[in-house]
Amino acid sequence: MNVEREGDYITLSMGPHHPATHGVLRLEVTTDGEVIRACKPDIGYLHRSIEKIGECVEWYQFVPYTDRVDYVCSMNSNHAWVCAVESLLSSSDETRLAIPERAEYIRILFAELNRISSHMVGLGSMTMDMGAFTPFLHALSQREFINDIFEKTCGARLTYNYMCVGGLVRDLHAGAEDEIRAMLKGLEKAMIDFNRLISSNNIFKARLAGVAAVSPEDAISYGLVGPNLRGSGVDFDLRRDKPYGIYERFRFDVPVGKTYAGADGRPGDCYDRYVVRLLEVLESIRICRQALDQMPPASGVEDDPVGGWCAAKAAQKALRKPPVGEVYFRCENPRGETGYHIVSDGTKFPYRVKIRTGSFTAMSIFEKLVPGLMVADLVALIGSFDIVLPEVDR
């Protein structure tokens, strides 16, 4: 067997094909036995030049591309893009759009449902990486119910292309609200089962407690966002602190990491991030229920300001000549803050679309955080950051 001798270290390529890296991520890991001495991420295997494509397609045509920026939480990515464009258009009176109220509620309802399904994937994958295969399938079977609802409404199970500038592509399907309510009830029970199965398991806690603790200062400096930032103890959630859409009408708590693992844990370790995601699922269920209660009934008229689903004509007119300028709009995706920095030159094509994603900045902390961990801990770390490669590479 060939072993490159660099001192006594082994260089492993946790290569693009790897069951634990959740996508085509390559980590060049230099280990001293089991303990890692250096880690250099090598990304770009999934780079699809979405930002360059944004300069070639029209404003409303870019929505399916935002689906693919993070296909696990497409609704949230859609939401971020359409909110960013609507914010650009709202700077001038001719182009300001009045989104129907029902469309706003449905946007938030579906964004939160997609947050739940994205967390199911993230939590399930994390437990699977730890070796417990059963909770992964329990979580995914719950996600299937959400996918079914989305499929009935949008026609797709994963990349929905459901929101458009001005509202939604179509209204909810008939009977959607009862279905969602029933599904949420089942989901609550399933989450309790899931937690009894794995979250309080001593082996699971031992794998995650105290592993890769990120201090709040490091988290802020290295651009961790979303559950990763809150897991380190920083109480910041864009939905509450910089509300977009109609999030200020909803009451929900923001879970923050508090060394949930007890004596073995450290603040900001993998278990904290894991528990923060679990609690976020419960909070999303709350928001969904409030949205269903407060939503105005459908009026059947597309651009009815209360019960319609899209201000289509106004949006078409506005997108032909949007204001010149730029906007940076931030939304709270399941993976953290998704920011769209869009520069408009007044034409129907965007001039520059920059997508800032939570997973990309989460990768930036790897070189600092990983040395000293064991190889098995690295797997736990990647799972706890919930890194999704399409977001990293765009």
Binding site: I43, G44, H47, S49, E51, K52, L88, S91, S92, D218, I220, S221, Y222, G223, V234, F236, D241, K242, P323, V324, G325, E326, V327, Y328, R330, E337, G339, H341, V343, S344, D345, G346, Y351, R352, K354, R356, F360, T361, M363, S364, I365, K368, D393, R394
Partner: protein, 181 residues
């Protein structure tokens, strides 16, 4: 306490007279910083207790080659711009800082020592736009392969005809149509 843009800019300009305020027709405003001062302004923005911009939300690169002039028939430029979107978790205010570098020698100091996340953002801008950040510990391509030629997000980017011995066009396409024009 959240400060308005004017208050923030006033504090910055007092310390660094070379900065100026820029604005766009849609109401966006930013602090324009010349490249040599970028690192000091960034450090000041982060460490000053009233500003406390501890979070670099987004660092995007913009190529101004095809951007329309500010006034009708006014001058256009071909500079490259680095736009830093900053946010303060303590005071909950935001500001945008822009650094314009000329296309001929696109160098600007790296702010990696101020915000750690800038390491990756700057590598991305170097890869896709060609701006060189001085003082970066490991400035190399991040999204494209290490032997890629050219900076894809530039407006005058020429698509390569082949890479790694493979021709990059589809069936029935010629090198004179589509993106190769």
């Amino acid at each position: 306490m959240a400060l308005s843009f004017d208050a923030i800019f006033a504090k910055v300009q007092v310390r660094f007279p070379s900065t100026s305020a820029g604005s766009a027709p849609n109401g966006a405003r930013w602090v324009e910083v010349p490249p040599p001062d970028a690192l000091e302004v960034a450090t000041f923005l982060k460490t000053d207790p009233d500003l406390a911009f501890d979070s670099l939300c987004c660092l995007s690169g913009i190529d101004l080659l095809k951007y329309p002039a500010a006034e009708k028939d006014g001058p256009t430029s071909d500079d490259l711009v680095c736009a830093y979107d900053l946010h303060s978790l303590e005071h909950r205010h935001e500001v945008r800082m822009k650094v314009r570098v000329p296309r001929a020698h696109p160098e600007t100091p790296s702010v990696e020592s101020v915000w750690g996340v800038a390491g990756y953002f700057e590598r991305e801008i170097f890869d896709l736009l060609g701006v060189e950040f001085q003082g970066h510990h490991d400035l190399r391509r991040i999204l494209t392969p290490q032997d890629w030629v050219g900076h894809p997000l530039r407006k005058d980017y020429v698509y390569p005809k082949a890479y790694g011995g493979v021709e990059l066009k589809r069936e029935g396409q010629t090198f004179e149509s589509g993106p190769y024009k």
